[in-house]
Every structure is written in structure tokens, then in C-alpha cells.
Symmetry: D2
Subunit: 509 residues, 4 copies
């Protein structure tokens, strides 16, 4: 099994996926640990010299004006965790909890957190021993995901259950079983545990993978649909897209051409419209715009994963502690807001393509792709309501949330990003899109079958074949909810992408 | 057990709750059944005379231009159900399915549906025998909830599983067990089964009950909080509210005064501010505005429950069939959109009241209601992020959806209301509000305790006492997620309302 | 010229329109004036007895804890007006200012305001002498429209310019010219002047008239379009709409049947589709739903116009003053939010009808209604982008705003309704709709012409004839922006409605 | 006066501002003109060989299936302009029209448009002779801004008025006066004129300048406010922001430190809170996030300005014409949607800072910054409603619009970006922000004055001095709308930025 060495500066998305989905073992760079210890010593020096430091020898939020006395450090920091244990259901998945712990661990290793060695090693051990705190997911306003982190911290001190060996377990027992003891906390350990955007970052990390796979699925299904339509491919041509000069669009167009390699669509324009409905012409452009949003979010996330989001910010090399607002993840939140809007364009595009595939004036095929021309078989008619209703839900999910907040904690905490909520909505949009793309696939494949024996592309051909093992040709009316669910699963599992042999994103769940 | 006789014209919300939650037995009025049979005969006459009738001897949607031949009636109507079986998860609750079947049965009995006697009796029997079709909830665009109704229909013809005696069961088996056979369908039976807004109506019916209970809970918790604050009650005075002349507000104000009867708040204005923060002064006005929205939705729903939403509309007395768009539930959808916005004002009001209860400059009590003045106990600080994050979610859920739709089925079905989606959002807002009100309750009760030994109101006193059995005084920091969840349950179960002896809505789940 | 006697309890919308648009003279009921003076005396008694009263001998907002000394009453009340003169452009129209002054005057006469006789008479005189304060329109959060009212008050004390005899004029001069002097203010006069939702109420009053006219225009244009389409009228049938039981929809359907009386559409179903696209079938239902929203808003407004929105609330009969939040207009704001959503359904419906009128598969007429079948004349093609872009703007304007606010004035004023902003958006939607309906009219009339010599309805015939005087048949491509603007004006001026002789709303601008 | 040579590949934003605001003269690169002519010849060859080309010898949109005959080229292309002249008010500014013409000219010179030499030179001449077509601004759905471009084209052929020498003038006359004749159009000239996103691009270009200036103003005003507050500067420290690693935030923080150079704020932490309200701590982070959005939009725009957005896409070097959807500006629209959301964070931040400046518990200064401690002067109280009401308007303007569209032109044009509408909203947000920042400035300066004689920063000191020439210290209550308007103008004109000597953006209007 792979090993990942964390040093606070070099964590990649692929490493995260290795740890989260494949149980890669986590180790801590000794150099980073030394930096961490140096930071802790800076804090102790501040405490000794009675220099007021936020959340260390002073309270947090409004209580920043209140002293925390040395003899109460363990109690205070545990009280901080308890009073921050505020999450409401539903629960985080195990994958999310792993990603949260991993990311918090890495950003703490950057060196400005002031967490003690014990705490850092405990995160590592929980990951490696698969001790997964049970944590409801809602409560963050996106300026440090305090409550989720606090409840992870509660497990570390033995006061919150965990999932261990597949069972909900008292965290004290789980730790005991693995030879650990509940931790004693020192100055700023409580704040250091909770004050991180690790939930938002973890969600963004997992989301990016899902969106890339979705975009690849969309490209593939679009290509099969284009074969069902007998559509134009001119707009994908490199000379044409380069005249526009938008790199991600060229990238998507090239991916589509690659997927279609060898298809009858390259054999000429006979029987084709002068140009296809925009939803068909424009698909690589829309997906390209989404891909650009993905890259921008990824860029911000990579920066975030390998820097500090702590407040106060301990600067070990300068031997001082500074007020900061490095926990502000607005740049990340804004890109997630944009991504949610962008994903709606995939949603609209897919819906409009399906409507066209059911329309003889565009396909020359029977209405609703009925196999007998509608004589006794109705085919895909009312299904239009199902996918458009999901699109309407997506529309609602794309409304922004980052600016909806209150002034809290004595009116002092008067900004928020709502990053977690925005990303929650992203996951819902993605899941709805799997259904919509699944229904696009049903239509695309049916159109291919009805069009007859034309040669499909290199990748589209293999994908089509694989799909027909899962959902057979619709030869008579049947309970379509079954086909919809199976098509959704085909998208979610990346089965067709894998079969096609052509995907960019490497699905490996 | 109570019996409810359905005749298409007199179904009440209370009867629905009896059938849905308490298993009241359903009977069919013989007069209504005769009207239904007359309607069916009108259809047969049209078929015999080869008069084209939508969805009867012609197809539906775009296929309205296609003949349906007499010999294919059973097959066509079953195909219609199959091709309309299009729902995607999550699943409807059993309560929802009961309400949907009940409402469809009643509106069909109004007399314009043209459903056969067998079909009508089958709905009755499913209700009475507790055979509950398993139906995912999503797919409707709110112009007749076709797919959900189709999948109920599929159970009736033996092609969709049911929940029976607590177990997922093949519907053929369940029917066999109860001595029924899968049905044979006649002209328009398919369309008659699917073409109804019964899902939206069912959701509205169940929602109204939840919102009324929520509003009562809000009034009660507000009153406890007012006692925690030592607040003004002048604004609730009948002479004052009558000068404004808004009936539902006067109603809420009177309910609050009633709940507070006997409270120390009536003992004078000593130590009180000249006037309280608006969130405290305004609560009965906000809840009054919500109550008005509730009444307006209820009015529309009552009209809907006891009329026809069929197309085509069979007019048995005039012996003809007419095109209609009586399935248009826009008036209902608009009121649900308004209600979602209104509920956000309860959400905001509660959040602002909590912020004030944590602020010594308004309460004269310790910051964050810490029991020891913050010396060692932090109390309710970061919890402010939890409830405002839910409020932000509510804000997003209040964005309208009714106008987001496509032109479907050959571009012919070019209007929608998205009633079901809007109501889905209502339920989510209501559930989030239970958490928010739960946290308001935590603060209100803590403030009451900290203020000391003052006399509480008739109802608030009993409710407070009951609550303290569930969630004790916060004397030291503890894992607050436990208290939040318990407070949520106290609201959801109406436990405090019942204990208070003062609620208007009669909770009886 | 008509005279209107105000008594605080009987003001109607029609009277408002008389005063606003036709300069009806305003008089004050002597009984109401006596009640007003009694209220003032109650205030003086409070002052004499040094009982603290908000905004009287104590400050407002956060300053409620500060004394206002008797000798400073004039200065304090003027300072209050100055510090509340906070509006930002654009400016209110003269009609709006008239409506605001009229409504504030009437609600003050209800008797709870405590305004002095001089102030009340000054409002009357400004109205009757047409002295119209120049007031920018933006600043209110919809809990009393403080700043707009303050700037009107500033004109009354001679510190804000007015429009007088058509010219911007120093208000001192204008008053001098009419024999008035700048006023001296007494206790609570400042607060009494500013603390009213008169701007929101005025806007709602003017809006309702515009929306009713718009809905009538929509019904008329729909009917002409139905004649252009050769569409079905069955769905408008009284027996059918009564089976649905939704009164406003029956009302709209009956109005349409009335407008179409005598039309060839009644002559049989030859050449017609079995049923028309939903946008055609559903128009009276959509407009009926809008009409219901109009009625609900009107009901709330009528209640508002004839009650008190003052705080504190002076109760002259009980000789006391009470804290109140009677300025809370949430019920009104919520109905305006709903109306904005409802109006979007008119918008969508009109757009979809136009798309159908340009589509030969629905009309049997040339594509884009080109007069020569598209040989050399393009006709109405890209115009589809114009009206849908306005619809998209309407979609954005329908998003709710009532719940977006801050806690102000020491965090005390922690609720808002944003009624004014919501109504601003209503006016924009209505104006956009005039363009959209104008373009629907262009299509409807062109379709009627192309269909040939069929007999039009009683009202539609006259309206069509009138329209053709304004915009002639499109026989060749021309600059369409001219036709669009002319059609917009035809809708806005209600010219066709008047010519048709059939409108319900009585336009009389 | 500067000359700008256009070649389709090197146009910069600064050059655009030179042409738009300072009348720089435009020339055409001869090489680019040759490429353009080559493209035209490719089209003629297609026409001669009767190869169907969209919008050339075939119609556009749905009419792509219709032939355009050679002898009708001039008439067809003029008809295309006429039938596309569809804009509705309000009107574009002269600056916008100049930017639109300039950008269309440059993208056409890229070489894929196929516009004739005459047309290209005419655009140049209109710019250089300041002949500015009168064009209403609304109609685009953001897939090529057809109607606005068509109406510019109408001026070129003498059928639409222009603003010439400051007067609305018949375009024929204006051209005659400058020695030009109305043009004759060849194949694809009509489509080439209209089919460009030049309006969206022009708006984005002008917007970017305004947003950069606004952000600089925000940084400056924030710094003055920080001096008014006696706030912390630690969070701006380079070591701290580098630990976060977000470049634009470091950039903003450094700009603030630069503006504050020499300020008393660097003199120690005496009397300061341990950390300031987040709105103060976070300002450079928020503005940094906005700045990143600005850069991303600018990057997309620069790519757009120097490539082709034509369909069909003429490839002169390959001697062919290809279907394309290079007119898809979704990537640009998405960044504008994100920017609108980002700007709302400036809005919120400013509002919260103002609330804190009015609150003695944060400033130690009198409530509402009253000069006499509130004895007789009220100061800045109700002004809180004015700026929050504008913030609420901004909140509404930030809702996305890109995905709200219809399938048009025979359902073929089934995607849109609504780029123009989104940018319209951006301009409104920016203008509202000028008011909000103006009010922040009023508070910041008043706080500085009340705090007394402390040393201000290098830039903030000069800016403060300049501002006090425009708006004097508030020593008694006065009509505040005057001060608000003056402060707005100070922001809009960049007067303080210029006086400060420290701005990054170079205002030069």
C-alpha cells in the first residue's frame, strides 16, 4: 500500500484520493514536525510572558477579552471542543471525515497552527487505524468549519463516538483497542483543532473528482447522441476552435473527436442539416467552460491545501504570533458558486439535446424514439418531465449563498462565505446530473439503434456495447424507472467511460 | 375506527389526517359512484361514435394526433402507465402515498374523470387494506403529477411493488392475499389514473399541519424567551393590534397573551427597555403573516380537494367531454412559493432573538448565557453559527421555482408550476426551522433559569417544566449537539405544546 | 372637480387615483381632526408627567434611552427630519409623491399618530396646491419608509425643494407664494411624519391599477392570438371551469369569451388541433392566478390604508400611548413577492404563445409569419431573442428580497420587509411585460391578417382595427424596433382596451 | 492624439479606453485587411460553386434550409439588418457604442468574419468621425448580440439615426456631411455585422475599469476607517498573508499598508482590541477575492477581443468555411456571474464596517458618531437603513441569469448565456456600491475627526484632506442626502484616489 508523507506543502489531490478511497498510509515529515514544535514553543513563550494571544491565554470570538488561566488550559480547551460540538444531521460520509482529518493535518503541518505533537500524531493514527469520528455535517458558515472539526476533536479526547471496524463505537474503546489514550490538551490546541476550513476543502477535493468524471461522461454521451442524430462535427475541428482561442473548449472538442474516431460521422455530410441545434453544436464549448471552472477551483484548492488557514497565525521563524484572517476561504467559495452555475449549463444542454432526439424533425427517426413508429409503443414521452424537473431543481440549487449571513458573536464575526453549504449544493447538482445524463444516454442509445447499422466511433462504440448489456433496446413499453436507475448507475460508476477506454479523468473508486 | 365517506365534494383536511395517520376506513358515496359510471358511459359513447377524445381514442401529449384502437384499450392504457413510470428517488413516505391515493380518489369522484368503478374501488381497497405502492418522489413538473400516479397505477395492475404488512412485496402477491386481481383497464383509465395533481395536493395537506404546529411552537418559544428577556408585552395588546387591523396578527398576539397569562411580565415595566429589539416586538406580527399565508394556501387546497383536475373533463350531466386545463395548480403553487418566503421570516426572527438572548446589553444576563458568568463555562457561543447556517439554507430554499420549465412533448406542454418541487422545499425549511426553534428554546430556557425565580405564564410555565425534563440547565460545557437534537425532537413531537395545554393546532401524530 | 373627505377609515383606491391623477381636492373630516387633537393632548400629558415615550420625550432607535427636553422639541424634531433625509436617486414621480402624502395623511387621521393639526393641514394644502416635494426614492428597508417621509417633512419646514408650478422651487418660496409659513414642530411630530409605510402603500396602490390593466390587455391580446391560431375555446367554457372551482379563473375565462363574442372561433372545430399548446389553453388560468394575487394584495392594502401604522401607538380613547410594531408591513410585502412571481407566469405564457404563432406546425401559416412565405421577407424571427431576454430579466426580478436585511441601530431594528424594493421590481416587471405583450400583439395581428378574412369577435375585432391604425401589416422587412415601441405604447396607454369596449379595469390616466 | 492600429490580434483594454474616452484615432492593419479580403473571396467561391453556407447563400436560424439567391444579396442582407433591428430602451451610452464598434471591428479583422472592406472601413470611419448610432440596449440573449449590432449596421446603410456633433441626426445626412454613402451589402455582410458578442465584450471592458477603480476606492476608504477605528494592522503583514498564499489578497494587503504608511496605526497596539471585527480584519481578503475575479474576467476578455466569434467561421488559409459556435461567450458570462457575487462581499463588508463605526463599544467614540455625544445632534443613525437597502438591492442583482433562456428559432437556438443582462446587473451593483462606499467614507472621516489629532497615513491623510473640502465635518444635523450624493461623486470621480497619490488603477475619464 502506498505511503504518503505529509509536510504541509506538497499534498496533491491524487494523494488525497489515495488516502480517502484506498487507505494509503499517512506519515509525518520530521522536518514539518519540528516546525510544528517550534510554533508550539512560541506559544508557550507568549503564555509565560503573559502576552495576550487570541484563543490561547484569551478566549475566542466575543470572549477574546477574557483571560484563560494556565491551570485551566486542559479544561478550557476541552470546554471549547464541547461548546463547539454543534453539528446537525445528516452525517458526513467516512470518506469525507478521512479527507477532513487529512487536510487539517496537512495545513497544521505548514507550521502556523501551534498544535501539539500529540494532536498531530493522533490525526495520523486515526487515519491509519481507520478510526472515523461520527460527525453530522451541518453547522459551518464557512469561516473555519468549527463544529465539524470540534466533533472530530471530541473523538480524540474520548467524548464522541466513532465508526471503528464498521461499527459505531465509543471512541475511548476504539482508542484503547489501538493502544491510545484520550489526549490532554495544551494552549491553543482546542482552537487549533477547530479553526480550519478543512470541511470545505475536503468537500471541494471530493467534488472535483466527481465533476471531472461527470464532464467526461457528458462528453461521451454527447458523442453517442451525435451519432444517434447523424450530426455535424465541423464545430469540433481544431482550426475552428483555435480561432476562438479558448483552451478548455479546444480540449473538450479534441476529446470528443478522439472519442468519435472512426465513426461514420466523419464520412460526409449527406442527410445532415446545415448546422445542428445549438445544444449539439455547443456541447464541447459548454463542457469546456465547466472544465475551466473546475481548473480554477482546483488551483485555489491546491493553494489552500498547502498553506495555513490558522488564526492566530503562529510564525515560528519570526518567533511571534499574529492576528490573521487566513481562514477566509472566499476565493474558494466564489469559484464553487460559479461552478454551480456552470453545471447548470451542462444540465440545460443535456435536456435540450434529449428533446431534440425525441423529435423526428431533427432526427428523421420516430417520435419519442418509439421502436414501432408509435403504433403500439409509446416510448420516451413523459420522461421529458422527469429530466426537466431535475433541471429545475438544479436551477434552484445554483442560486448563490455566499453572502447570506449574520453578524455573530457580539456582532464581531460579521463576514462569512458559506463554503460548505455551497458545496453541499454542488454535490446535489452533480447527482441530479447523473440522472439527467443517464436519460440522455437512454435516448442516445435508442437513436443509435433505430438509425441502424452505422459504424460508431472507437470509444463510443465500446461504450454503447457496454451500455446495452445494462439497458437493452426499448422494444416495447416497460417500467422506465428501472432503466433510469440503471443508466444513472452506469454514469455514477463510470462503467461506460472505462469500457470506452477514452476518458481523461481516471475513475478509481 | 372512524369511517370517511367520499363523495368528491366534502373532503376535509381533518379527514385526510384521519385516513393518513390513523387508518380511518374509506367508503365511497353511492351517488358519487353513479355519477362516475355515467361519466364512463359518456366516454364509451364517444368511442362508439368515433368522436376523437384526448387520451381516450387518441394519444396524449404530442400523440394526441394518433388513434388508439378499441381492441388495444387495455394494452394502450397499461403502456401508458409503464411509459409514465418515471420517478427517481428518494421515495415517498407511506403517509404521502396514502394521502395521494385518497385525494386522487376523491377528485375522481367529483365526476369528471371517467375512471371505471373497478379502478375507484381498488384505490379504496388499497387504502383500507394498507397496500402502499413503493414510489420514488421526484419527476413531476407540477402539471398533473403523472409519474407518481402512474407508479401507483402500476401497483394496481400488478407491475410495481408495494409495502404490505411492513414488507416490500410484489403487488400481485399482496392483492392475491387480499383476494384481488390485477385490473384490466378501459378507455381513459390510464390517463384518469395519472392526470391529477394529487401528489402536490397531498404534500400541501401534510405540510399545512406541520406549519401550523410549527407556528404554534414558535409562539410558545417566543413567549418563554420574552420571559427570559423580561420583555415588553404592550405591543400584543388588543387595542394596539386592532389599530393595525390585520386579523391574523391579532390572533397570534392574543394566543401569546393567552400563553403568558399569569406571567410576571404583566407585573409592570420595571427594569425593562422602553421597547425591545424588533425581533421580540414583532414576533406575533411575523407569525401572523405566516398564518395568513397558511390560511390562503388552505383555502386553495380545500377548493382543489373537492373539484376536478381532469383533462379532458367529462361532463356527465351534459353528456359531453371537453378539453380543459383544470390540472393547472398555479394558484396553489404560488401560495406555496409565498409561504416559503414567509417561513424565512420566522427563521430570521428566531435567529435574531437568539442573538439578543446571548447579549448582556439586552438581557442583563451573562454573555452567551454562561452559568458562571464565563469564568470557566463558555456556554452558547459558537452555536450562533449553527442556527444561522440553517437560516442561510432556508434563504436558498425560498428562491422561487414555479417559472423554471421547458416546453415539452413536441413543445406543446409549455407551461408548468413545479408545485411538487416547491413543496419539497417547504418541508425542508420546516425541518430546518425545528432545529432553529429548538436552539431558540435552549436559549430561552437558559435565560429563564438564569433570571431566577420569576413566575412564568400559565402555558409557558408548564412547557418550561416539561422541557427541563428533556434538556437540563446548562451548568457546564457539554456536547451541545445532543441538546440541539433533543430540542429539535421536542419541537417536532409537539411535546411542549401538549404539555402547555394551550396550542391551537391539535397535534396528534 | 371631485372632493374627497379623509377620515382615516374610508379611503378607497379609486379615490387615491382621483387625487393622484386627476387633482381631486382633499378635505379633512372634522371628527377625525378632533380625534387627532385628542391624541396630541395625550402626548402632551405624557410629556408633562415625564412618562417616557419613545420618539417623544425620548429618542428613536438606539437613542430610545436618551431624553429629549421640552425646550428642544422644535429643534429635536427638525434634527430628526434632517438626519433622516437620506434618500438616493432616482427620484419619485409626482404621482408617487402625491400618493405618499395622501396616504400618510389618511393613516394619521385614523387617530394614533399624534401629529399636530398644523402638520395635517399642511399635507392637505400641499396636495391641493400641488406643491410636490422633490424626493429621491431609495432608502427604505420597508419598516416605515422613514427617509422619503422625512424629505417630504423637510419641504414642510422649508428645507427641501419642491416641484411647484412645474418648476423646481425652494419650498419656502412656494409656501410663501401660497400664503403658508414653514412649520414649527411639537413633540413626536418628527417621528409622526417619518414613521409610516406610506411609500410602500403608495407604490402598491399605483401598481395595482397597472397590473389590472396589464391583465386585461393580456386577456385581449391572447384572444386576438387565439383567432390568429384558429384555436380551441372549449377550455373557457363555464361548465368546465366550474368543475375546477377557482373563481378568478372562471372570471378570466368569462372575460375572454365575452371579448370573443361573435368570433369565427365559435363556428366549429374544423381544422383545429384536438387541443392547443398549453400556453394557449392555459392563459385564462394563469391570468386568473395573477388576478387572485392582485385581489389579495388589494385586500391587504385596503386594510392598511384605513388603519394606523404608527409607533408608538397613541390610543386617544384610552388616554395612553403604547409601544407597537404596527409599522410592520410584512403581509403586504409577502403578497407583492407572490405577485412578482405570478407576473412571471404571464411573461412565460406570452413568450410561449409567440413562439407557437411563428411556427407553421401550429398555425398552418408561414414560418415567422412572413407575408410571402419567406421568399424575400424574413418576418418575425430574431425578435424571439428580444422578448425572451426581457422574460429572463423578469425571472431575475422575481427573486425574493423581503428577508435580506441587517440588524440596525444598535442591532435593535432586526427585522425588515423591503416592501419598497419589492414593489420597485414589480413596476419593472410590469413595464417589461408591456413590451412582451406588445410583441405578442404584433404576432397575433399578423397571424390574423395572414389567416385571411375570418370574422373576429366583438371586442377583438375593434381592438384589431385600432391596432392596425398604429402598426400596419408587415408586408416587407422593416425596422422592427419602431413597431415594438408602438405596440408597447398601445398596451401602456390601454388604447386597444378602450377601443375594444370590453375591459374590466377602467383606465383613465 | 494617439493612433491605434487594429489587426485583430493585439487590442488591449488600455487601447479601448483611449478610443472610447479620449478619441484616439483608429487605423486598420493592411495585413489584416488582406486576410479579410481573402476570407471574402472564399465566400464568393462558395457562392459560385453553390456550396450551401449558413447565412450566406442560405438563411439564418430556422431559415438555414432556405436559399438566398445571388441577385438578392443586397436586399437580403439589408432585410436581415431590418428584421434584426429589435432593441428596446434604455439607450446605450456613446461610450458603449464606441466600444462595441471598435471591438466588432477588431474581431472581424482576426480574419474569419468575411466582412467586405467597405464595411470594415465604415466602422473605422464612424469611430474616427464620431458618428455614433442611436441604439437601445436591450434584446440580446448573449449568443451574439444580434440586435444591437444590427442597429449599428442600420446606421451604416442609412436607416437608423445617429448622434453626430452632439445631435440626433439622420445617418444619411451625417454620412453625407462626412463624404460617405450608404453601403451596398454583399454575401454574409449582414450576418457578419450582427453575429458578434461585441456588446457583451464592450460592457465587460468598460466594467473592468470601473470595478478596479471601485476596489481601489474600497481599499482607501477601508484604511481611513481603520484609522477612525484605531484598528489592528497585523493581519495585513506580509509574513501572515504569505502563509495563506493567495496572491491577490497579499496584493491588496500590501496596497493597504502602502496607503497607511506613516499612520499612527503603526505606533503600537495601545487601546486596541485583541482583534477587530471580521469586516475590518478581512477587508483586504475580500477585495483580494474580488480582484482575482477581475483578473479572471480580464483574461477571458483579452482572449475574446483578439479572436473570432463568427459563425460560420471562414478559414481563409484553408480556403473553407466551417460551422462553428465560436460565438458562445459562456466562459465570459460565468466570470461575470461570479464577479457579481464577489462584489456583494464588498457590499456586505462595507455595511458591517459602517455599523461598527457607529457603535461606541467598538470605537470608543460617541454613538452614531454624534459630535456632541448625542446631546442635541443625532448624527448618523437612520442612514444605516439607506446603505443596507442598497445592499439588499445588490443581493437581488447577484442572482444568476445565465441559465434562464428558451429554445428559439424553431427550437434550434437552445442555449444562451445572457451575458449582456448579467453585465447590466454588474453596472448597477457597482453604482450602488459607490453610494455605500460614500457612506462608509462619511463615517470613516467623521470617526477620524472625532478621534482627534492623530497622524494619518501618507495616502489616507491626503485623501482625508481632499474629502473634507467636499464634505465638512458633521457638527450639527443637516440634510444628509446632500452629503451622501457628494460622497458618491467623490468615489465615482476617483477624486480621493487621485489626491491620495496611491492608486493602482489609473482613472482618467
Amino acid at each position: 500500500m502506498e505511503k504518503i508523507v505529509l509536510d504541509g506543502k506538497n499534498l496533491t489531490l491524487d494523494q488525497i484520493y489515495e488516502v480517502v478511497y484506498h487507505g494509503a498510509i499517512v506519515e509525518l515529515s520530521e522536518e514539518a514536525m519540528k516546525r510544528a514544535e517550534k510554533a508550539k514553543q512560541v506559544l508557550y513563550r507568549m503564555v509565560d510572558s503573559e502576552t495576550p494571544v487570541y484563543g490561547t491565554n484569551r478566549g475566542v470570538g466575543w470572549n477574546k477579552d477574557r483571560k484563560v488561566y494556565t491551570e485551566y488550559f486542559d479544561q478550557y480547551n476541552k470546554n471549547l471542543l464541547r461548546s463547539h460540538s454543534l453539528c446537525v444531521p445528516p452525517y458526513c460520509t467516512e470518506e469525507e471525515v478521512r479527507a477532513i482529518m487529512l487536510i487539517r493535518l496537512n495545513t497544521a503541518l505548514y507550521g502556523c497552527a501551534g498544535l501539539s505533537r500529540d494532536v498531530l500524531e493522533r490525526y495520523r493514527d486515526f487515519l491509519n487505524k481507520r478510526i472515523h469520528p461520527l460527525v453530522p455535517r451541518r453547522s459551518s458558515v464557512g469561516e473555519a468549519d468549527l463544529a465539524v472539526n470540534a466533533m472530530i476533536g471530541m473523538s480524540i479526547i474520548g467524548e464522541n463516538d466513532v465508526l471503528y471496524q464498521g461499527q459505531p463505537t465509543d471512541s475511548r474503546k476504539a482508542m484503547e483497542n489501538e493502544g491510545m489514550k484520550p489526549l490532554v490538551l495544551g494552549p491553543k490546541d482546542g482552537l487549533g483543532i477547530v479553526s480550519s476550513n478543512s470541511q470545505a476543502a475536503a468537500m471541494a477535493a471530493l467534488l472535483l473528482r466527481e465533476v471531472k468524471e461527470l464532464t467526461d461522461n457528458s462528453n461521451l454521451i454527447y458523442c453517442i447522441g451525435l451519432e444517434g442524430l447523424n450530426g455535424q462535427i465541423q464545430q469540433l475541428d481544431g482550426s475552428v476552435t483555435e480561432a476562438k482561442g479558448f483552451p478548455e473548449q479546444t480540449e473538450c472538442a479534441q476529446e470528443c473527436l478522439h472519442m468519435l474516431e472512426g465513426s461514420y460521422l466523419f464520412d460526409g455530410t449527406e442527410g445532415k442539416a446545415l448546422q445542428d441545434p445549438l445544444s449539439f453544436r455547443d456541447s464541447a464549448f459548454i463542457n469546456g467552460a465547466v472544465l475551466e471552472c473546475v481548473k480554477l477551483l482546483e488551483m485555489s484548492l491546491n493553494q489552500h491545501l498547502n498553506h495555513s488557514d490558522d488564526n492566530p497565525c503562529v510564525l515560528p521563524d519570526e518567533e511571534r504570533v499574529s492576528v490573521s484572517c487566513n481562514f477566509e476561504p472566499l476565493n474558494l467559495a466564489l469559484k464553487a458558486e460559479m461552478l454551480n452555475i456552470a453545471l447548470n449549463h451542462i444540465s440545460k444542454g443535456a435536456c435540450h439535446r434529449i428533446l431534440k432526439l425525441a423529435d423526428p424533425s431533427f432526427t428523421g427517426l420516430p417520435r419519442f424514439l418509439s421502436p414501432d413508429g408509435g403504433k403500439t409503443v409509446i416510448g420516451y414521452s413523459t420522461i421529458q418531465k422527469t429530466f426537466t424537473s431535475l433541471d429545475t431543481e438544479n436551477r434552484a440549487l445554483a442560486n448563490p449563498s455566499s453572502m447570506d449571513f449574520f453578524a455573530l458573536s457580539g456582532y464581531i464575526e460579521d463576514h462569512a462565505s458559506n463554503a460548505v453549504l455551497i458545496l453541499e449544493k454542488s454535490f446535489k447538482i452533480v447527482d441530479n446530473l447523473r440522472y439527467i445524463l443517464g436519460m440522455e444516454l437512454m435516448h442516445a442509445a435508442q437513436a443509435v439503434d433505430l438509425r441502424g447499422n452505422y459504424k460508431l466511433g472507437k470509444c463510443t462504440g465500446k461504450a454503447f456495447e457496454e451500455y446495452r448489456k445494462i439497458v437493452p433496446f426499448l422494444d416495447k413499453d416497460r417500467k422506465l424507472s428501472v432503466d433510469i436507475q440503471a443508466s444513472y448507475e452506469a454514469v455514477k460508476s463510470n462503467k461506460l467511460l472505462k469500457a470506452s477506454g477514452c476518458c481523461n479523468s481516471v475513475p478509481r473508486q
